[in-house]
Symmetry: C2
Subunit: 455 residues, 2 copies
């Protein structure tokens, strides 16, 4: 008799949590659909040949690998053991668990390129797995929630991503700040200060500005070989402040000699012009030329969202990339995508107490009763309540009355219909509001009307 | 540059399939909720100590096992290799993929027994994995769709399962036959013919009646050691026919000397009385004393559903069990559950052409345009359409008109709003019905009204 336990870093989601998580998923899903994104699901297991080498050496180590079925060790010898576990893995395992949604998406696009309608807009909401060391807020199984448009480099798509972010967080009730940058601006900055090709180093350092301050950023750049002259030239970058329009203006002057930099500004300004066409207020949007986010991957716009009023890292991020499927032999597929971090959004909603109370999932009406006869009386009414579209239950056994009410309480059922001999005689049933405690006698038709008005 | 492929026995679900699958999932989910079932999700990976030994030897072999992270082979020697792959597995793998939803549910109930509200009604819709040989209709990854009530032996729950089945298939539009039996009746039959304790053998043979006919069933029983006398006694069982009421009557006479058999009839009759209380027509329900379904597990009612008018096996099944969590040290948890087979339900709907056409997921309106100016004109309208609750898109690039209409066609977008210089001048936009081909000039407000009336 073993005492069962969960795999480290994984979680059960019981009813309470599921109801809240589904509120997030449903909100995001509905917005994705409103914008014309269509659902995709890919398998949990992918061939290791698809996954390996896509996430760097560290990523390869963090892949969960599935043991081959059957007699996997038949052809394994002492020699194979001596060669170490990495080589051995390739001999006993061909499959791994999905590490993110992007690589499976790229595989899907490559394998189905002949049949897909481009521009192809898909969303995908599925769990991913990483053999990371579990710690607070970091799990080995967690959901990703992605939307991408591929097969077009239209800047309307960037703007639509921003609109979608607004829609999702408005519907979730979260106040947020959306930072935008463009990778070409970072390239322009490195050119401007005479460190062309060093935008990676520059970005990694400058990305920390918020956390470590200007002095430390410059120190880091010096350590990494940036000349004193280039660092001096960087100074005006830190002075860029004010409204987005003011930032654009100052940036245009700074980057006037960098073709790539000017292209980046131009792209962002086109995105901004689409905002205006959509009448989008700039209240939540901030041009931030220090935003970097996995720079090596993105080639155009970069997005990041943080919730206001809580100390929780970024809850959404994304950007434009130019080569989704190149690694699978299908070059030139440009796209722009966004990923919502469900676990962090959950934490934000929990911390700010923003989850709605009246969840549609939950049972609204429980029938309680005193004896078999009352149970029989209740059953047809239960059928009627459900036909009227009300989630309803009957306590399945004749049990102590307190036990039945406890059940309603613990399941957060807001209304109870109580049936005893008196109720059967008069047809006036006891209708109890479990939140206010209020209790009154009503006919069943009146109860249905009250419920339909309230719910 | 590798040519990517799917893991054998797994599938991508592109937008077309996802829309149809979600129709099934949403229908089932909504019904589960209407009946007071709450959602649960458990992790993909479980400890092998939780999974092993729960599905028989064959099941243990069919579990996908996950290689331990890090240097898993460090302590493996030639001696371990010599002992064979089964022993070796336990040294390099501690986790496996979920094989069904029942064992994880049992683990969850055991681990959370102190906090759960009993009777506990949960539903769970998640994929499971089996290292089976893939073949037509059999996959290595597939969804299960389960609902269970545990912690009560009330027969109302059996009746509610039957009501739920009716509700689900009514909403899916599938004509079906639901067969019901009770394990105690099978026990009674084996007692009646003087083969007490042999209900397993009896059930396996009798279960094949439909497929192989009476003669072959009796042959099989003879081969398995049933006496000629007992087989003669079985004869009247095959004569049981007619309405459910007639079957109950004949069965009562047959089983009058078996206490267990009579208990089984009594239980089923109680379930039937709840049908009556709910005013459920018996049209789809059939008492079938030859129904067995994994007898060793079920202890009371047994259910099975087939779709009428197609040659596809059972699409739903379930029953009453008495010992869900015993293997985890929590005895006496009785429950009744049902599992919907999504892949087969999909095939039924496809074969009978029953999928609804007007899916809510799909984009309803596409804006097409001839130039940049028309694009700018369209953007605010796109925003308005979405605000009005209409899933809408704009073709993201100025492209040939045919290409834009092709996009609408291939994405099955039913309406297109076409904007050119004339439309901008007059405010009368071209509104095209992509299905009928009909095309007319309307103001944008009129277009919104038409769409809201139609969708």
């Amino acid at each position: 008799m073993s005492k069962p336990s969960l795999v480290k870093g994984t979680r059960d989601f019981g009813p309470d949590k599921m109801v809240k998580r589904n509120f997030i998923f449903d909100t995001i899903k509905q917005t994705f659909q409103r914008f014309g994104f269509m659902p995709l699901e890919t398998p949990t297991m992918e061939n290791l040949s698809v996954l390996m080498g896509k996430y760097g050496d560290e990523g390869d180590q963090l892949l969960f690998k599935v043991l081959n079925s059957g007699n996997f060790s038949e052809k394994i010898s002492q020699h194979d053991l001596d060669e170490g576990y990495k080589k051995l893995t390739s001999k006993i395992s061909e499959k791994g668990l999905r590490y993110d949604l992007t690589v499976p998406f790229a595989r899907y696009v490559t394998m189905n390129r002949g049949e897909l309608t481009f521009p192809f807009k898909r969303y995908q909401i599925q769990p991913v797995w990483r053999a990371d060391r579990p710690q607070k807020g970091r799990y080995r199984e967690f959901y990703q929630c992605d939307a991408d448009v591929v097969g077009t480099d239209s800047l309307i798509c960037e703007a639509e991503i921003v609109l979608m972010i607004h829609e999702v967080f408005k519907n979730l009730g979260i106040d947020f700040t959306l930072k935008i940058n463009n990778r070409k601006i970072l390239t322009g900055l490195s050119e401007m200060i005479g460190q062309a090709g060093q935008e990676g180093t520059l970005a990694v350092a400058i990305d920390k500005l918020d956390k470590i301050g200007k002095e430390k950023v410059l120190e880091e750049l010096t350590e990494r070989g940036f000349s004193q002259e280039s660092i001096l030239k960087l100074d005006p970058v830190f002075e860029i402040a004010g409204s987005n329009a003011e930032k654009f203006e100052k940036l245009s002057v700074l980057l006037q000699d960098s073709e790539t930099g000017k292209k980046g500004i131009e792209e962002l300004q086109k995105v901004w012009s689409v905002f205006n066409a959509f009448d989008l207020s700039e209240e939540h949007v901030e041009l931030d030329i220090t935003l970097a986010r996995g720079l090596s991957y993105y080639t155009g716009a970069i997005f990041e969202v943080k919730a206001n009023g809580v100390q929780i890292g970024s809850i959404t991020g994304g950007g434009r990339y130019d080569n989704l499927t190149g690694t699978f032999g299908m070059p030139g597929v440009s796209g722009v995508g966004i990923s919502f971090g469900v676990d962090r959004i959950y934490d934000v909603l929990e911390e700010l107490n923003l989850f709605p109370e009246n969840q549609s999932v939950i049972t609204k009406l429980l029938f309680c009763y005193f004896d078999e006869q009352a149970q029989e009386y209740a059953l047809p009414l239960l059928g009627k309540a459900r036909k009227a579209g009300i989630n309803a239950e009957i306590y399945p056994e004749t049990a102590k009355f307190k036990k039945q009410l406890d059940y309603a309480d613990r399941k957060q059922i807001p209304f109870v219909c109580i049936i005893g001999s008196e109720e059967i005689e008069t047809g006036q049933l006891t209708f109890k509001n479990m939140i206010s405690g209020e209790q009154k006698k009503l006919s069943f038709e009146e109860i249905l009307q009250e419920l339909q008005a309230v719910l």
